[in-house]
Amino acid sequence: MIQPEQLVGGEWAEWYRLTPVQRWLESEKLWQTYLALGGSLDPEPDTQSPFFDARASRPRPAHGRTGVRVLRRGRV
């Protein structure tokens, strides 16, 4: 039998080995961190979705800036 490590590496193998409820709880921790860092619940535009409407208005973040900004650009 193939073991997860042989196929997907350590991190994914560890994730696969969690029980569904453990995965749910880990995901909740990630959410708490994301929200504590000021992350927004407004989803990114999904341009491949059949529902995507490029003309639809989107709410602006409360601080008036986009969610991600380039602070330093490295040379190619």
């Binding site: 039998m1 193939i2 073991q3 997860p4 042989q6 196929l7 997907v8 994914w12 193998a13 994730w15 696969y16 080995r17 569904p20 409820v21 995965r23 749910w24 709880l25 995901s27 990630l30 994301y34 927004s40 619940l41 407004d42 989803p43 990114e44 999904d46 491949q48 979705s49 059949p50 529902f51 409407d53 003309r55 639809a56 709410p59």
Partner: protein, 230 residues
């Protein structure tokens, strides 16, 4: 039916919206309106929140204004391409009790797999992960139904070859239903990868064709909304 279900079953998606598959009937819609009111959720974009649009196969989109769910988007659907009717989804559902005692009803894995066969790039690695997780969790002592499910749905060449080696008779029997199983039997990894890709491409094309008339309807609704029509 979306990101939360994927996390539960073993993929990892950081989805910021919440998708619900619901029974589209009048009493259930009344209950949904009440729940959405608690979330201070307003419909966004098109189509408007109406039974006929849900039954047609459209998704209705909402954005929450409740402080605890500010800007969270909720999508509601009742009919999905290639996915069974709601009563059958409900019969097969998985119920999860989360630590605060709340219960969440999720699509079964097999129904989630069908729902994820879309035209979007991001759904296909997700499908692969969902199936891998299920395979690794159950491979020591699989039930016959699980073996059949893997032969029908796995998207990882190595696992398909492994499965074909372990259960050659079942593989031969199911090869009529999924042509690529012939390549799993032969163990030719490159061929298997190519036919898996072809299978994905064909499925994505079917999804695009399914959505074509629905997208046209959405476009008409958008025009009507912009023009102030009904």
């Amino acid at each position: 039916m979306g990101g939360q279900a994927c996390v539960f079953y073993g993929a990892a998606e950081f989805s910021r919206d919440t998708d619900f598959a619901i029974l589209a009937d009048a009493p259930n819609l009344a209950r949904l309106r009440k729940a959405l009111a608690e979330l201070q959720a307003e419909p966004i974009a098109v189509p408007p929140f109406a039974l006929k649009h849900l039954r047609r196969g459209h998704a209705i989109h909402f954005r929450c204004q409740h402080p605890e769910a500010l800007q969270m988007c909720v999508d509601v659907m009742s009919k999905m391409r290639g996915v069974d009717s709601f009563p059958n989804l409900w019969r097969r559902r998985t119920t999860l009790q989360i630590p605060d005692g709340e219960k969440c009803d999720l699509l079964s894995l097999s129904d989630l797999v069908q729902a994820k066969k879309t035209q979007r790039d991001k759904d296909w690695p997700m499908l692969r992960r969902l199936l891998e997780a299920h395979y690794f969790q159950n491979q020591p002592k699989p039930k016959p139904a699980q073996i059949r499910f893997w032969f029908q749905e796995l998207r990882t060449p190595e696992l398909l070859v492994d499965l074909a080696r372990r259960y050659p008779a079942i593989c031969r029997r199911l090869a009529g239903q999924r042509a690529l199983l012939v390549h799993a039997q032969s163990g030719k990894m490159d061929d298997l990868e190519q036919v898996l890709l072809a299978e994905e491409t064909a499925e994505r094309q079917r999804d695009k064709e399914y959505w074509l008339p629905l997208r046209q309807e959405l476009e008409k609704l958008r025009h009507a909304k912009l023009g102030g029509g009904s």
